[in-house]
């Protein structure tokens, strides 16, 4: 069982690769969008800026998005934001697989860094066996804003308050999933979420 991990950013691919391997899957780094499809499932990691991610897909955006709709995809942080159409951060378009946009966090402390509770708003295979309200690790300045409330499967409310302190922390449409937090940095429950994704990939393969 192979999972490809998109390499569109600078920085640390170490954590996500190690975490995917811990689930028992083989992690394959994809240098181009085309390479994403040589495996059973796809992870879009949370490394880099929206513009770096957007640039990586440029030229192949529409066909990549079309192919992804039938594949299990897990977007993490920036990778989750790339599933949407565009971002206030600027720097190009997202994949537009899930209708919606990405907005800057308007809260007292930005970036939001730390563990915050994730509360389910719909059933989602990613959270099987994970208690509702379990905290996951976040580090971000932007949040996903899906146009259709039905695409939000979990919400997080930051305790400090602020204009958009309550946001969709997990989104899903069909085979495509996005989480704004970092499961690869969220210890036992984060590993459970990644294992749930890998199990799902195995079941639809």
């Amino acid at each position: 069982m192979k999972i490809s991990i998109a390499s569109y950013g600078v920085g640390n691919m170490h954590s996500i690769t190690k975490a995917v391997e811990r689930t028992g899957a083989e992690a394959v780094i994809a240098r181009t969008p085309a390479e994403l499809f040589a495996t059973d499932g796809i992870v879009l990691p949370g490394v880099g800026s929206f513009s770096a991610g957007s640039r990586w897909f440029e030229g192949n955006r529409e066909e990549t998005a079309e192919l992804m709709k039938d594949r299990p995809v897990l977007g993490i942080c920036l990778g989750c934001q790339l599933l949407l159409e565009d971002s206030e951060e600027g720097g190009g378009m997202g994949l537009g697989i899930i209708p919606g946009t990405v907005k800057r966090l308007r809260t007292r402390k930005v970036p939001n860094m730390g563990w915050e509770p994730v509360s389910r708003s719909a059933d989602c295979v990613l959270f099987d066996g994970i208690p509702d309200g379990e905290p996951f690790y976040f580090v971000h300045s932007y949040v996903p804003v899906p146009s259709d409330d039905g695409d939000a499967v979990a919400v997080t409310a930051l305790s400090g308050g602020g204009e958009n302190a309550t946001f969709a922390s997990a989104i899903a449409r069909g085979e495509n999933f996005g989480v704004q937090f970092h499961p690869e940095k969220s210890s036992v429950q984060g590993m459970r979420l990644l294992s749930n994704f890998v199990e799902h990939v195995r079941s639809v393969r």
Binding site: V10, S15, P111, M113, G114, P131, G133, E134, K185, S186
Partner: protein
Amino acid sequence: MKRIIPCLDILGEGVVKGVRFADLKKAGDPVELSSRYEQEGADEIAWLDIGATNSSRETMFGRLRDTASVLFIPLTAGGGLRSMEDVSKALGSGADKISLNTAAVRNPGLVSSVSGEFGRQCVVVSIDAAWSSASRRYEVYTNSGTRATGMEAVEWARKAEDLGAGEILLTSRDADGTGKGYDGRLVAAVASAVTVPVIASGGCGTTADFINVLGRCGADAALAASVFHFGTLSIAEVKTALLSHGIAVRKTGGVGAG
């Protein structure tokens, strides 16, 4: 939620801990300790190479890689990082964030460069401060607390934020390792002056110190070394005390903790 961050001061291969940056005692192996702290409910791990000489560099990156490979919580690495190359190596060794202290003071442009290249979220500016009774203000020190810079702590924290820091790690040199409590006045002054998260460091000895610094003083995270290394307090004990005072933290106890 507020965070509890055990800190590993690394010298050579091992973890050490001193009092006011001196009298270092051995405290264990970084890989074993950090992995144990994750199981006990640590929210992050900080790793500071306090030797930071050129000869210790490669050792440090090697030990950092060993530590990162067993951890599934965020890891901040610092100590002696001077250039983009050092920073890239630290991130390449598995650190999620890097901490700049002396180098940020000497070369503020480095903070902006790292922030621009890797993102604000992975840049921690670490500030060592001590109260000066002569100037009646908190002065910033570099070189492991030995060299006065003439800068005032709140001013420097604000500037660091403008330069691109995503977080401030604030250590009181006066309180470090004493177990007599965080310097609440210093923490409150900095935490209210910046909009990025502030990690309080130096001096905690009791659960009351954590309650005070994360509650009244407004710190977003509390870093501690001695109390955890030497077994004075457990992470679970600290978190239970915080929860009982209405301070939200991730409950510990590993699997199933909600």
